[in-house]
């Protein structure tokens, strides 16, 4: 793979996305407002849960706020990259414009995953890091380079798992054509990730950490920050994310064999 070429193409993707967003100024402003109000709403909801109790599943409000911060970052990543790109796969398949993607001398998965970027999602990522920064202060977390590296590793793994899940569902479009609703279900499952894994019942914990590992992706980075995560959990997350990434790629390659294109 020619890294230089891919970086150049990616810079053009970003440039055209920014150009498109700037064409619609009001929409940009509304997206920004939605991101801020969304975060305020989520923190308010969390404070309601903690209004009658000090702990949920062993997590107090200040610790749970870390999960909220991680969730906001992941939601920002979702809104920046996954939503504008992976949602479009359905359109590419339905309208047959995937033809143009497949005929370009470039990796088709790269194209469909990174073709667009929604800059307003970046604000959400910044807000998430701002919340995390605040959490360092209120939880008296001693900040080390090592914890930062671990946080970044677990965050990247979480993003990979989320991406793979979303991409897997979007890939099924090649057979079923309209699977957009399934990605919406995944999005609503992502809301579960705003709460600590331990606050769920045993059966739900199993469900949300194995079949759809949503809680896994927010709880482990939060535990890393608090110094609560054992090494095996981090290793497990790395393995799970790699498995998901490899599987989603193989699945895409397999699915393309069944692509029938749209009739003219």
């Amino acid at each position: 793979m020619n890294i230089k070429k891919y970086l150049q193409v990616y810079s053009y993707f970003n440039y055209s996305s920014f150009s498109i967003e700037l064409e619609y100024k009001v929409n940009l402003f509304i997206d920004l407002l939605t991101a801020i109000l969304g975060l305020i709403g989520s923190v308010f909801l969390l404070s309601i849960f903690f209004s009658n109790t000090d702990e949920i599943g062993g997590w107090n409000f200040n610790q749970a706020l870390i999960i909220q911060g991680i969730y906001t970052i992941l939601n920002g990543v979702t809104n920046t990259w996954f939503n504008p790109n992976l949602k479009e796969i359905v359109k590419y398949v339905r309208e047959g414009t995937l033809d143009y993607v497949l005929l370009k001398p470039i990796d088709s998965q790269f194209w469909v995953s990174f073709n667009r970027i929604s800059p307003t999602g970046l604000i959400e990522i910044l807000l998430g890091f701002f919340v995390l920064n605040y959490c360092f202060y209120i939880n008296n977390i001693s900040f080390t380079i090592w914890s930062l590296i671990l946080l970044m590793i677990t965050l990247i793994c979480s993003i990979s798992i989320l991406y793979s899940l979303w991409f897997l569902i979007s890939t099924t479009t090649i057979w079923f054509v309209k699977t957009w609703n399934a990605t919406e279900v995944l999005r609503s499952f992502l809301y579960m990730g705003r709460f600590p894994m331990d606050s769920f019942s045993f059966s739900l914990r199993i469900f949300f950490s194995t079949f759809i590992p949503i809680t896994f992706i927010t709880t482990i980075p939060s535990e890393v920050l608090l110094g609560l995560s054992p090494a095996w959990k981090i290793i497990l997350e790395v393995l799970v994310s790699m498995t998901f990434l490899i599987f989603s790629r193989k699945f895409w390659k397999f699915a393309l064999r069944f692509y029938t294109s749209a009739s003219s």
Binding site: K5, S16, T97, Y100, K104, S264
Partner: protein, 328 residues
């Protein structure tokens, strides 16, 4: 001697499709117990195309033309058979192969809707690994040929269909492909825009020696550009050869209408070896075989002092229409 750039042997393509009966019952049955059938859309086709040829694919809607184009450019896997395009197996979609081809579809677009075409051109250039200075040169050359200039800096959504199609062509040709697959490129364009596009394709073919495969329902596209046509009917090739030969085969005669100076001349004309269609006072209309046309006309002009002469050929759309309906 020019070598074959495309070789197709015994290609078949089937699709699994589900049919639905009308009404709510049919809809529910379709939902719970979907019945699928395998439909062969391309059936054992064979042909070869040499470098630099312009070949037109003719056929009714659903005949299998677009499917063949999509198999040739590697978008669809054939169910059976052998294909070689520019020395590669298309459906492997190797980078070297993809750099040699381009697909232009009249009803689909690759340009980014909300931004000017120039941005899409630079994006395409980077995908094909073309240096920016070279990309600028190619854009300039092609935009001169296509006669578009200021339109390159307007958002695509603000362009007319004709301008958009020119920009689509530019985006598709920036990597100098040697094989062009064109699926109804003039669809929806006005007469002038169609003519400009045809002219451009002809010049491009002459200048670059590119091979062009074209499907179109506008017969002018075919007659202007293609010497050779391949007729497809229900997935089969029903004719592969020169367009002129096909037209002679389908429409062997011409109608000649002569206004004679006197009725006496009409009477003499009747005695000639011609198939008379109609006589109206001193006007006689007859049918003559295209092969005898020259001699017959020479004889008439030598023998008679005529007032006026009309030669009528059936419109080409009508002639080609026959093969689309009758599977001749």
């Amino acid at each position: 001697m020019r070598k074959n750039i495309i070789e197709v042997k015994d290609i078949t393509k089937s699709f699994t499709i589900s049919a639905k009966t009308p009404g709510i019952k049919g809809t529910l049955r379709h939902f719970f117990n979907r019945k699928t059938i395998e439909k062969k859309v391309v059936k054992n086709i064979n042909f070869e195309i040499t470098e630099g040829e312009i070949v037109g694919f003719l056929g009714a809607n659903g005949a299998g033309k677009t499917t063949i184009l999509k198999i040739l450019c590697g978008l669809l896997y054939p169910s059976n058979g052998y294909i070689s395009v520019a020395g590669s197996c298309p459906f492997k979609r190797e980078t070297s192969f993809l750099k040699k081809i381009t697909l232009i579809m009249g009803q689909k677009q690759q340009l980014i809707w909300d931004i000017p075409p120039i941005d899409s051109f630079y994006l395409n250039a980077s995908i094909y690994g073309i240096e920016k200075s070279e990309a600028i040169k190619r854009i300039k050359d092609l935009s001169n040929m296509l006669e578009i200039d200021s339109e390159l800096y307007l958002p695509v959504r603000k362009l007319s269909l004709g301008q958009r199609m020119k920009a689509e062509l530019l985006a598709a040709l920036i990597h100098k492909p040697s094989i062009l697959f064109l699926d109804e490129p003039t669809l929806g364009l006005d007469i002038n825009a169609q003519a400009n596009l045809r002219k451009f394709l002809q010049i491009y073919n002459k200048q670059t020696g590119a091979t062009i495969l074209l499907t179109s329902h506008y017969m002018k596209d075919i007659t202007y550009l293609c010497k050779r046509v391949i007729c497809i009917h229900e997935g089969y090739i029903t004719y592969d050869g020169k367009l002129e030969k096909l037209l002679t085969k389908l429409s062997p005669n011409k109608d000649v209408s002569i206004i004679c100076k006197s009725i006496k001349d009409v009477e003499i004309l009747k005695k000639l070896n011609i198939e008379i269609k109609n006589i109206n006072d001193n006007q006689i209309t007859f049918t003559v075989n295209k092969l005898d046309f020259k001699n017959t006309l020479k004889e008439i002009l030598n023998k008679f002092d005529i007032e006026d002469l009309h030669i009528n050929e059936p419109p080409i759309d009508e002639v080609i229409g026959k093969i689309l309906i009758n599977k001749k």
